[in-house]
Amino acid sequence: MYRFNYHKPDDMAAAQQMMADAEDGVYLSGGMTLIPTLKARLASPTDVIDLSGLALSGIELADDSLTIGALTLHSEVAAGNEILSLSNLALAIGDAQVRNRGTIGGSIANSDPGADYPAAVVALGATINTTAGAIDADDYFQGLFETALKPGAIVTSVTFPLPGRAAYEKFPNPASRYAVVGVMVAETNGDVRVGVTGAGPCAYRQRNFEQALADNFSVAALDGLEVDYTEFNSDIHASAEYRGHLVGVMARRAVAQII
């Protein structure tokens, strides 16, 4: 690590003020990405603003939605809630140590291409609540580690509409256990959405799958559908072409879970 100023504000306004005052500040949530990055001296922020003192944790059920506080741990989501597929997704993140430190807000703010939560955000049509207003899932993920989160803003919670049915299937990277490809298929109020993570630079909707499933919610409906993998990630674990193939396999398996 390089030296930095450490802050632990106890309210949101103070946190944002500290960020505004910092020359090159960064928010710390669970730290599952930031801390290793700092330790490897791959980042050198002047100020680290630890959000763990803010009251942003907890899961709240409303009539037709579930709102999860940004500091809620993966293990807390995995422990069970009204959206089973979301619990299952959280249980597939990293390992027990990561799930006991990592937070949903941190994951979504970071937008790692292999993170699991973004698939659910997209597929469930969630709303990302921030200190600078609410952002619709479809507008939120913009590119590799890029989101619509405004500079200095903090994710406060994520609101997930309760789906009629939803399932997540993940093909984990054998080394890191991030998603090589993760697909969530969800039907919410008759609207079918397919969220894909891991494959591309950021989470996205597989629209041709959605249309096919809207017409005929079955595994067979996805047979033979093309996945354009030209912009997909490619690394030693999975080429873009293989990722494209896996999008179909994972989507079919997700559908199979809920028919």
Binding site: M1, R3, A40, R41, F171, P174, A175, S176, D235, I236, H237, A238, S239, Y242, H245, L246, V249
Partner: protein, 782 residues
């Protein structure tokens, strides 16, 4: 008779309580007053000429005490890191050993090679200082690809064609003749993938120097502290052997990678002398990936000649082995004497010829890694045998049985320079076949297919040469050191015992196993025996732990020393019992006069040896402490049968091991629980090689798999529930009848997995590691 703690008992490991409660004492736990911290500045280039290095900015930083370059070490007379095994080429010429300065002087030849060291008051200051070192490099295109390295752009001035040696073993003419008249030839092109060892504890060193006496002490993560002392004294010129104490305290795994003497401990102990301050260095995990010696990395063309009935008549093997950028301490021996000599396997193949070209590349040095040469040999032989069986339409078990060396053939002289002392290969195969339920495999396969999965089964009947090594054999083949082992059994006044061994335990459980042997033989409580290892200041000499040698060679030395203690004790007892040696029996810790009720216990004898009132001082020296050196007559030959069943998901290519049976013949076993643990760990590494692990450099020479994000370390959930069992043919030439068990799992399992996978897919070969995409592409016919 087996007592609860004696030979043959599954005693829980003494050392585990401290390990699992965080009370172990590792090198990084050592702290000294006024200790400084070292950080190495490492090359980002695979290959470059060093035009200049500027350490002035580093030296100007707060807390930085010193910054050294390779030139500083050279100017102080610090020598190159040597290779300890001279291999000769076919034409009789010596292998070429390029200069290997511990800290690079004029060139860097792999990413991660150190070219400067910064020493500071704190680790943070040392890191800041290291970043402030600047250097002017002239980058040169690197030689990375093993297949084309031979004859590519020359890396070392002294090494034409990048070839270290071109070695051969066996009878070329006889082998060619066998192929000419054979009914069938099976050929395979095999790549044995590069692995990165990944011991749980990264390498570390704490160097200390006492100006008043001129004594150096080096704490280091070594599998063989005496050998480290010898190399640092005799070759690197750090200090006289008598002035250097090397201590390897608790060490968290080695797998071969901690046999070698590296740049870092060399520079640390030298700098401790320069500054007369203690200096600590501990590798980051990233440094471990870059700068620990890697393993394997062979390309091989292998051919097996057979008669129509499946009898093997000839084996021809041509291998190119990667040495990396420099020759590490035992690198030259791994693809030659630990590889070519094992190619007979368990079979009576009458004619074998192997040639090995070892070449340099701009990658980290490659050296021994669990199994060291023997996994590569087993992979060649067992992939060939299985492929031949398929080509001839034979059952893979039957073709092996047809060719096994039979129990009555021992001692059996192979065509590749070894003499196997004993074995019963079909006994292990038979047991493994029963345990896995081979007869019902077809039903399981059908059931898998009904579930949309492809199922395959694969065999591997391996042999290894362990118990390194008969010194004169090894020295005649080029070893620069003897390979005997020493022991001292020191009995205290009160009858408790300290056992000093030259072996080193870094996970093997010697503190338990060796205590079982001594307590069993002396008939004293297990708890009263302490095993001391890893300190040149406490044990006389030793060659360390590798090559499954500790029990076989070190344990035999302990038996020899214990027998000397018993012999002397018997004399003392005879005197005390007013009898004669011949009439004194020793059983379960008690000396008694034959056919009488007169007896005396071992602790009473020990007391008398140190308080010699009633003692034959005219005939015997007082005291009860005996030393022994044991040099083995031959290697030992553990062997066994591994059978693996896999299920492949045809949609994703993911391979799951659904059944794995290992039946091994380790000779006599001291602690079955420790043996099972060793087998489990070895299997995980062998399976890891087959399915998961791969050290990859990109075309330019950058290490792609430099962290656990990309290097797939096996995890518990990648492994099946292993079924492990043993058969026993006792080793004929050591007092324990033991053969060694540390490497077997990693040696036998890889071929079994790949034979099962190729069976499931119906293909000849799949490159390792068989990652999901690799398997998916194999299914697509690519």
């Amino acid at each position: 008779m087996t007592s609860e703690t004696g030979i043959g008992a599954s005693v829980k490991r003494k050392e585990d309580a401290r390990f699992i409660t965080g009370a172990g004492h590792y090198t990084d736990d050592i702290n000294q007053p006024g200790q400084l911290y070292a950080v190495f500045v490492r090359s980002m280039y695979p290959r470059a000429e060093i035009r200049s290095i500027d350490v002035s900015s580093a030296l100007a930083m707060e807390g930085v005490m010193a910054a050294y370059t390779g030139a500083d070490l050279a100017a102080d007379g610090i020598g190159d890191l040597p290779c300890g095994w001279m291999v000769k080429s076919k034409d009789g010429s010596d292998m070429i050993q390029p200069p290997h300065p511990p800290v690079a002087v004029s060139v860097v030849n792999y990413v991660g090679e150190p070219y400067a060291m910064v020493v500071a008051e704190t680790l943070q200051a040392a890191r800041d200082g290291a970043e402030a070192v600047t250097a002017d490099f002239n980058e040169i295109p690197a030689v990375v690809d093993l297949a084309s390295a031979h004859g590519a752009d020359q890396i070392h001035e002294a090494v034409p064609g990048n070839q270290c040696y071109d070695w051969e073993l066996g009878d070329r003419e006889a082998t060619d003749a066998a192929f000419a008249s054979a009914d069938h030839v099976t050929s395979l092109d095999i790549v044995n993938n590069r692995l990165i060892p990944n011991a749980m504890e990264p390498r570390a060193a704490v160097g200390m120097y006492e100006a008043a006496t001129g004594n150096y002490t080096l704490y280091t993560t070594s599998q063989n502290p005496h050998l480290a002392r010898l190399v640092l004294a005799a070759f690197v010129n750090v200090a006289a052997e008598s002035k250097l104490r090397v201590i390897a305290p608790d060490v968290g795994g080695g797998f071969g990678s901690k046999i070698f003497v590296y740049a870092e401990e060399t520079a640390v102990i030298w700098a401790a002398g320069k500054l007369a301050r203690a200096i600590k260095w501990r590798a980051d995990r990233s440094e471990s990936f870059l700068a620990d010696a890697h393993g394997r990395d062979h390309r091989t063309r292998a051919e097996l000649a057979l008669n129509a009935d499946g009898t093997f008549v000839g084996l021809r093997v041509k291998t190119v082995a990667n040495m990396g950028a420099y020759l590490s301490l035992f690198a030259s021996s791994v693809p030659t004497y630990l590889y070519g000599t094992l190619l007979a396997g368990q079979y009576r193949t009458p004619a074998i010829y192997v040639e090995v070209q070892s070449v340099f590349t701009n990658t980290a040095p490659v050296d021994a890694y669990r199994g060291a040469g023997r996994p590569e040999a087993t992979y060649v032989v067992e992939r060939l045998v299985e492929t031949a069986a398929r080509e001839l339409g034979k059952d893979p078990a039957d073709i092996r049985r047809l060719n096994f060396i039979q129990p009555e053939d021992f001692p059996y002289e192979t065509p590749v320079a070894l003499t196997y002392d004993t074995g019963d290969y079909d006994a292990s195969l038979k047991k493994a076949i029963e345990l896995i339920g081979y007869d019902d495999f077809a039903e399981r396969k059908a059931s898998s297919e009904a579930n949309g999965k492809k199922r395959g089964i694969g065999f591997s009947c391996y042999i290894e040469a362990c118990g390194l090594a008969p010194s004169q054999v090894a020295i005649s083949l080029g070893a620069g050191v003897g390979l005997f082992e020493s022991a001292e059994v020191r009995v205290d006044v009160t009858g408790s015992v300290s056992v000093m061994t030259g072996c080193h335990s870094h996970g093997q459980g010697h503190e338990t196993t060796f205590a079982q042997i001594v307590s069993d033989k002396l008939g004293i409580p297990f708890e009263n025996v302490d095993v001391v290892h890893g300190d040149t200041g406490r044990s006389d000499y030793g060659l360390g732990t590798y090559g499954s040698r500790s029990l076989v060679v070190g344990g035999s030395a302990i038996v020899k020393a214990t027998d000397k203690v018993i012999a002397k004790s018997r004399k003392i007892a005879a005197h005390m019992l007013e009898s004669t040696e011949e009439n004194v029996d020793f059983e379960e810790g008690t000396f008694s006069v034959t056919d009488s009720n007169q007896s005396i216990t071992f602790p009473e004898v020990a007391f008398s040896a140190y308080v010699p009132g009633n003692y034959p001082l005219d005939e015997l020296e007082p005291g009860l402490s005996e030393k022994a050196f044991y040099d083995p007559e031959n290697f030992t030959y553990p062997a066994g049968a591994h059978i693996c069943e896999v299920e492949v998901d045809p949609e994703t290519g993911k391979v799951e091991i659904v059944n794995f049976v290992a039946v091994d013949d380790f000779g006599e076993i001291i602690n079955p629980m420790i043996v099972a643990g060793q087998v489990h760990g070895g299997l995980a590494q062998g399976i890891g090689q087959a399915l998961l692990e791969h050290g990859i450099y990109d075309e330019s020479g950058q290490l792609v798999t430099g962290s656990y994000m990309d290097y797939t370390m096996p995890r518990a959930d990648d492994m099946p529930n292993f079924v492990v069992d043993t058969t026993v043919t006792p080793c004929t030439h050591n007092p324990l009848g033991a053969k060694g068990c540390g490497e077997a799992g990693a040696i036998g399992s890889t071929a079994a997995v790949m034979n099962a996978l190729t069976d499931a897919l119906g293909v000849v070969d799949v490159p390792m590691p068989a990652t999901p995409e690799t398997v998916w592409r194999a299914m697509e016919g690519e």
